[in-house]
């Protein structure tokens, strides 16, 4: 494929990526079943009593089994400071076992010791009008700042590994403004490409 054609295809596809992000952004709120940060900011009361899924940063963990979670909008501005009840469900007499008046034996949505300020959680539960929430389920995305650092550090290693591995087998060709395979004999121990390239008469199209 000629360079001009390749460049045109690349520009068109990158424009497509931008267009996709625009369409995704324009239609996200009507398709995502839970309030976004913007919606929570603009019309909190409309979502009161709804079952919602929210993502937020943990600001405080209280001994009374509540966690203060800050939800942000797309500008990373805090739009809601929620007190999330992460204790077991409401105290109820177990109707199936009269006389035991035991507390409903349900798993606690979150063990408060599993998260610390600076962590990130997903909370699913009922939004209440006093800027609080009763959690049915909590997922600890990052238990604290260290967990986020771990994730970013390991991800960086992943990028280096993939890019390093790629450059072991490919090299930039300045003339054609693209990547081409490095000499096959040095990188390929076996494989159809290597066999073709190592044959005396094994010319390949396009590798000139």
């Amino acid at each position: 494929m000629r360079l001009a054609v390749r460049a045109t295809v690349a520009v068109v596809l990158l424009a497509g990526v931008v267009g996709l992000c625009v369409h995704y952004g324009a239609t996200y709120e009507e398709n995502w079943p839970h309030p976004t940060g913007e919606q929570l900011d603009a019309e909190y009361d409309r979502h009161v009593d709804d079952q919602v899924l929210l993502f937020g940063e943990v600001k405080d963990v209280n001994p009374d089994e509540t966690v203060e979670v800050h939800v942000t909008d797309s500008a990373d501005e805090v739009v809601a400071e929620l007190e999330v009840d992460v204790g077991p469900g409401p105290e109820e007499t177990n109707a199936d076992s009269p006389g035991t008046d035991s507390i409903r034996d349900e798993a606690t949505p979150l063990d408060p010791s599993a998260v610390e300020p600076g962590g990130t959680v997903q909370v699913y539960g009922e939004l209440e009008e006093d800027r609080s929430m009763t959690a049915d389920e909590v997922v600890v995305v990052n238990s604290g700042p260290d967990a986020a650092t771990y994730k970013h550090g390991v991800s960086l290693l992943g990028i280096l590994l993939a890019v390093g591995y790629f450059f072991r087998h490919w090299r930039p060709d300045g003339r054609r403004l693209g990547f081409e395979p490095r000499t096959a004999g040095k990188t390929e121990r076996i494989g159809a490409d290597a066999e073709l390239e190592q044959r005396p008469n094994g010319s390949r199209n396009g590798n000139g």
């Binding site: 990526v17 996709l20 960086l156 290693l157 590994l161 060709d173 395979p181 990188t187 490409d193």
Partner: protein
């Protein structure tokens, strides 16, 4: 999403095992596949520039999360395919397969409401049930994929000897 090292290792495992059956899938293409596994996480540009900033710049709604979907991965695999000088179709297929491995692994992660993200966009906004297998910050994720990749690496070395 799982951290990127696990995504790269999963792609390495999948492509290397596939290479045992497919003669054309040489190491250079395994390497392209691991690059494909990075593509959906290009949405992490969001760590450096917020959607709101991009919305202000473009003057229209904008959500970088679209990259972390089928549509975004398809388009980026197309861009990657023309960045290599030749064999564009093969590059496209391998990059796309690497990107899909990333999206499939992410489809298994935990969501508090029990259903996965909207990664099938733009085909559908459907959120399928997730098995809630993991959160990315759990080192067990990397330890599992790392152990698997190590086994495949040594088996591959034995095969190519």
């Amino acid at each position: 999403m799982a951290e990127l090292l696990s995504h790269v290792l999963v792609a390495y495992v999948c492509f290397t095992v596939a290479s045992w059956k497919l003669d054309w899938l040489t190491k250079r293409w395994v390497a392209v596949g691991t690059i494909g596994a990075l593509l959906p996480d290009l949405n992490r540009i969001g760590l450096f520039v917020s959607d709101a900033t991009l919305e202000a710049a473009f003057g229209v709604p904008f959500r970088i999360g679209a990259i972390h979907t089928l549509g975004g991965t398809l388009l980026l695999a197309g861009v990657g395919a023309v960045v290599v000088a030749d064999e564009h179709r093969r590059a496209f297929g391998v990059l796309l397969a690497g990107g899909l491995s990333h999206l499939l692994v992410d489809a298994l992660k935990m969501y508090a409401d029990g259903v996965a993200g909207t990664w099938l966009y733009p085909i559908t906004w459907l959120r399928h049930p997730t098995p809630n297998l993991y959160v990315s910050s759990d080192p067990l994720v990397f330890l599992s994929t790392g152990a698997l990749a190590a086994v495949v690496y040594f088996v591959d070395r034995l095969r190519t000897r």
